[in-house]
Amino acid sequence: VIIPDGDLWITGDETLGEHLDRRGVSRRRFLEYCGAVAGVLTAGPLLAGRAEAAITAETIAQSLSGMEKPVLVWLQLQECTGCMESVLRSGETTVEELILNLVSMDYNELLMAAAGEAADEALIEANKQPHILVVNGSVPLADDGAHCTIAGRSSESILRESAENAIAVFAVGACAHWGCVQASSPNPTQAVGVDSIITDKPVVNIAGCPPVPEVITASLVYTLANGAPPPVDGQGRPLFAYGDRIHDFCPKRGRFDAGQFVRTFDDEGARSGYCLYEVGCRGPDTFAPCPILRWNLSQDWPIGAGHPCIGCTEVGFYDRFTPFYEVLPDLAVPGTGVEADATTVGLVGLAAVGVGVAAHATATTLQERRAQKASEKVYLPLVGELPTQKRPLDSASGEDQK
C-alpha cells in the first residue's frame, strides 16, 4: 500500500514519514500496513536498542517513518558470485559508500553478518518493507527448483516473495538476465532469467558476465537520485550503458577500418595492437560500455589486453557466439542484419566485413577489399537486435507498479 509510483522516496532528502505525507498516504493506511508487519517482527534492526518495548503497529510505524535510507534486498540465486565480486571492484560509487551510506542492504548472503535463521528473518522482514530488489543469478525450474535452494526454499519462491513489495527490480548479471552459462544448451537445470518469473513489474537488466561494476552501482544511484530506474533498451538494459556496440567506440576501430588485423595471437599484428576481428572478436555484435568505461578503475579492458570480446552482455552468447575464436559468423542471428551499400558506410564498407567469411578470408589487403567490394552491397556484422526503446520507466503509471 505504500509503494511509491514513479515518485521514489529519495535518500537523505526526507524521511519515509515525510515522503508518505507528501504523497498523501494517510496515517491510517500506513498503520494498517504496520499492523500487518507487527505479526512477523521480533527484535529486528528497526527496533534495536528497544527490544523491551512492545512491538505494535504504532512502534513499527514510528520506526519505519523515521527510516532515513531505502532498504536494499540483494539476492544471489543460481550463480557464481562474480557479480558481487564485481560490485566490490566498483570505483565510484564504491560498495562501502553504497551499503553504509546510501542504502541499508538488509539482506545479501555474501556480505551480511547474520547466517541461517537470523539471515532468513532479516530477509523476511526486509521483504515486508518497500525495498529495492537486486537479483544475481538465474532461477532453475527443473525438479521443482531443487537445483538451487536457500533456507530450504526454491529460488523461484525466494524471488517471488522478495519481488512482491519491491519498488524496483534489477536483474544484475547474465544469469539473472537470461540464465548465462547454465542456461546454455542443453540447459540441464531449466534455468531462466528474472524477467521470466517477475512479469507484473518492470525488470531492469544489467547485462554482462559480470557487468562492469560501475554500471551496477550507477544504476542503483540513478534510481535513488531520480526516483525511477534508468530508461532501457528492448532487452531491458539501461541506455546509459548498453546503447552502443563495442565496435562503435572501440579504440581499435581505426585498425578495423584500415584492414589491419591480428591473424594469429602474438603475431606482428598483435604486437602492433591491431584489430581482433579475425581472431573472433564479438564487439561488432555486442552492446556494452566496456571501451568507454573500461574495467577495474578504468585500468584496461579485454580487447585492450589483446583478447577478443566474447560478447558477454548479449543473450545466449555461449551458444550464439561459439566457437569463440572463429570469425563472427554473419548468420549468427539470421535475417536481422543491417544492409548498407559501400558508398553510404564509407570506410566501414571498405573493410567489407561479413560478406561471406570465405571471401573475407581471401582478401588480404585493403586495396583488394576495395576493388572487390566497391560495387556491391555489404553486409555489416551488425547482426544483433537494434535497441528498440522500451517505454521509460519514469513514465509508467502507478497502476503498472501496483
Binding site: 562474480g82 551480511m112 589483446g306
Partner: protein, 568 residues
C-alpha cells in the same frame, strides 16, 4: 536432549551451503554438509571446442575467478601436447597469484572476520588507545591513524544509531563469545574498509594481462596479451611499472596488516587451535599458486603428494588414487556405490531429496549436490593449511622461517595447524609467501623480456588439424581453497568428457566410504552455546573458505543416452 540445528543460508561464502547438526549440552554431536546448488556446466561443455572450455569452466566460480580457467587451459594443453611459452607461464602465475592473495585477504576481512569481530562495540572504542595498539602491532601501516579510526568509528556509530544496520542486521552481537576489546574491533573494522580499497587497486594486475576481473581472459597455448616494449597498447614499460607498483602494494598490505591482524585476533581465541580438527589426511601438489599440465613437478624440490592418517610424511601423488563417490550426492552410478577415477567417471544427476520447501535433509542417505572425492579411499583436507603443513614437513626453509616464530608466539605445535585457527593462520602465512613469489615471477618476466623472451603464444597446436583424434588431459592448480584438477577428453576436435575435482568438493563433500567429509569432521565434536546463534560452527566452516559453486560436481556425461544434437 538432542536438538536439530540448521544453518541455511551459510552466509559470507561463495555459493549455497546448508549445514545441519544435532547438538546436546552445548556441543555438536553430528553434522552434515549440504551443497544446495547445481548448475550442470559440464553438460553444457559437452561437444564444445576445447579452446573455448576455459570461458565456460571459469564461470563455475566468480570469486576464485581465475583458477578454473587456468586448470582448464592446462588440461586442454596436456591433452593436445601443447607447450606454452615461458613468458605466458609467468603471466599466468602473476594473474593467478595476485588473484589468490586478493582472495585470501577478502576472505579474512570480508567473509570471516565478523565471526570474531563485534561491530556493535565499536562506538565504545577509545580512538587514541586503538591507534596506540595498532601502531605497536603494525608500525609500518600509514592508515593506523587517529583521523582514520575516528572517521570509521563515527561512520559505524551513525549506522548503529540509525537503527538501519544494513549488512550488520541481525548479527549475533550479544553473543557471549565475542572476545575482542572495542579498540581491537575498531582496528579490524577500519582494516575491513581499507582492504576493500586495497583489493580494487591490486587486482588490476588481472586487468593488465587479462582485460578485466572478475572473469579475466585466458587462451589455450599461451596468453593473449602480447609484449612489445615499443608499442602503446601492448605490454610495455608503463604496464610493467604498474604491475610492479601493485606487487609492492600487495607485499605491504599482507606483511604489515593482514598477517599481524590474524595473529592478534587469534591471540584472543587460542582455544581455536584445538577446535575444528578435521580429517587427518592432506593433499598438496605444490605451494600456493603452483599450476601445471599433467603430473605435477613443482619447483624447488617440493614433493607433490599426500599425508595420510595423521602421519606427517609425504607419499608421492598417484593420480589413479583420486576417486569420486556418489554415496551422499544426488547422482547415480551404474555399478552402485564405488569410487571412480575422473577420467573414467560416470554420473547422472538424480535428485531424490524432498520437494522444496523442506525442513531437514540429513535423514536421507543422499543430501548434497556435491560428490565425494577420496584419495586412496580417504577424505583429505586441501587448502592453504595443508600446503603450508606439507612444505613445513618437507623442511622448506622459507616456510619454516615463516611458521616457527608464529607458532612460538601462539604457543602452538605444527600438528595444531589442523584446527580452525590453524587454517586461518595457514592462509595468512601463505599470502605472505605468495606475495614474495609474485615479485620473483615478475622479476623473471622482466629479465626475460630484456633478454628478448617476449613470446606469449605458441601457434603450433592451435589448428584442429594438428590435434590427435582422441586425447585426454589433466590440469592441476594449487588455488585459494586447495587442490584443483580439471580432467578433459577430446575426441574429433570436440570435448567428449569434462570433469573438475575441486577444493570445495574435497573439503565440503558429504559422507563416502564410511567417512565424513572434512567440513563435517571438523564439526564433530564442536562447541555450540546458543543453537539459535551458531557463531562457533560458523567460525570453523568459514575457516575452510567455502566456495560451494565450485563444489558442485562436474559431470562426466560419456555414454549418457541424453541427445546432444542441439549443442552447437
Amino acid at each position: 536432549v538432542s536438538e536439530r540445528v540448521v544453518i541455511d543460508p551459510v552466509t559470507r561464502i561463495e555459493g549455497h551451503l546448508r549445514i545441519e547438526v544435532t547438538a546436546e549440552n552445548e556441543e555438536i554431536t553430528e553434522a552434515w554438509s549440504e551443497t544446495t546448488q547445481f548448475k550442470g556446466i559440464e553438460m553444457v561443455l559437452q561437444n564444445r571446442d576445447p579452446r573455448d572450455a576455459w570461458a565456460f569452466a571459469q564461470r563455475i566460480c566468480g570469486v576464485c575467478t581465475v583458477v578454473h580457467a587456468i586448470a582448464s587451459v592446462r588440461a586442454v594443453e596436456h591433452a593436445l601436447g601443447y607447450s606454452v611459452p615461458n613468458a605466458a607461464d609467468l603471466i599466468r602465475n602473476l594473474v593467478l597469484g595476485s588473484q589468490m592473495v586478493q582472495d585470501h585477504v577478502i576472505h579474512f576481512y570480508h567473509l570471516h572476520a565478523l565471526d570474531f569481530v563485534n561491530v556493535a562495540t565499536v562506538p565504545e572504542a577509545d580512538v587514541d588507545a586503538a591507534v596506540a595498539a595498532a601502531v605497536s602491532l603494525e608500525p609500518n601501516y600509514a592508515l593506523n591513524s587517529v583521523a582514520r579510526f575516528g572517521a570509521v568509528k563515527d561512520q559505524v556509530t551513525r549506522i548503529l544509531d540509525s537503527g538501519q544496520l544494513s549488512i550488520f542486521t541481525n548479527g549475533y552481537w550479544d553473543h557471549p563469545d565475542y572476545r575482542l576489546s572495542p579498540e581491537v574491533n575498531l582496528i579490524a573494522v577500519s582494516h575491513y574498509l581499507d582492504a576493500l580499497t586495497w583489493q580494487r587497486e591490486i587486482i588490476r594486475i588481472n586487468t593488465i594481462f587479462g582485460g578485466k576481473n572478475p572473469h579475466p581472459n585466458f587462451l589455450v597455448g599461451g596468453m593473449a596479451s602480447a609484449i612489445n616494449m615499443d608499442n602503446e597498447i601492448t605490454i610495455n614499460q608503463v604496464k610493467l611499472n604498474q604491475v610492479q607498483g601493485m606487487i609492492r602494494q600487495i607485499i605491504d598490505f599482507v606483511e604489515n596488516v593482514y598477517l599481524p591482524d590474524v595473529i592478534a585476533i587469534l591471540g584472543a581465541y587460542p582455544d581455536y587451535l584445538d577446535i575444528g580438527q578435521s580429517s587427518e589426511s592432506y593433499m598438496a601438489l605444490g605451494k600456493g599458486g603452483y599450476n601445471c599440465a599433467g603430473y605435477p613437478t613443482p619447483p624447488d624440490g617440493f614433493r607433490p603428494g599426500v599425508m595420510l592418517d595423521g602421519k606427517l610424511e609425504i607419499i608421492d601423488l598417484d593420480m589413479d588414487k583420486i576417486q569420486e563417490y556418489a554415496t551422499s550426492g544426488w547422482y547415480r552410478y551404474t555399478d552402485g556405490d564405488v569410487g571412480l577415477q575422473p577420467w573414467v567417471g560416470e554420473t547422472v544427476p538424480d535428485y531424490t531429496g524432498p520437494t522444496p520447501p523442506f525442513e531437514w535433509l540429513a535423514d536421507n542417505e543422499r543430501y548434497t549436490w556435491s560428490k565425494a572425492p577420496r584419495y586412496d579411499g580417504r577424505a583429505v583436507q586441501v587448502g592453504p593449511m595443508p600446503r603450508v603443513l606439507s612444505a613445513y614437513v618437507q623442511g622448506d626453509a622459507e616456510t619454516r622461517d615463516d611458521v616457527d616464530p608464529i607458532l612460538a608466539q601462539l604457543g602452538a605445535r605444527p600438528e595444531q595447524l589442523n584446527s580452525t585457527a590453524g587454517r586461518i593462520l595457514g592462509r595468512a602465512i601463505e599470502a605472505v609467501e605468495m606475495a614474495r613469489q609474485l615479485q620473483r615471477d615478475f622479476d623473471a618476466l622482466s629479465t626475460g623480456i630484456r633478454a628478448g623472451d617476449t613470446q606469449t603464444f605458441n601457434p603450433d597446436k592451435w589448428e584442429k588439424s594438428t590435434w590427435p583424434d582422441a586425447a585426454k588431459g589433466v590440469g592441476f592448480a594449487e588455488v585459494a581453497r586447495g587442490t584443483l584438477s580439471h580432467w578433459v577428453r577430446v575426441t574429433d576436435g570436440k570435448i567428449s568428457n569434462y570433469q573438475a575435482v575441486v577444493p570445495s568438493t574435497w573439503n565440503g563433500c558429504g559422507r563416502a566410504n564410511g567417512e565424513r567429509g572434512p567440513y563435517e569432521e571438523a564439526l564433530v565434536p564442536h562447541p555450540l552455546i546458543r543453537p539459535e546463534q551458531p557463531l562457533e560452527p560458523l567460525r570453523t566452516i568459514h575457516s575452510f573458505d567455502p566456495c560451494q559453486s565450485c563444489g558442485i560436481h562436474v559431470l562426466d556425461v560419456t555414454g549418457s543416452e541424453v541427445a546432444w544434437a542441439k549443442v552447437q
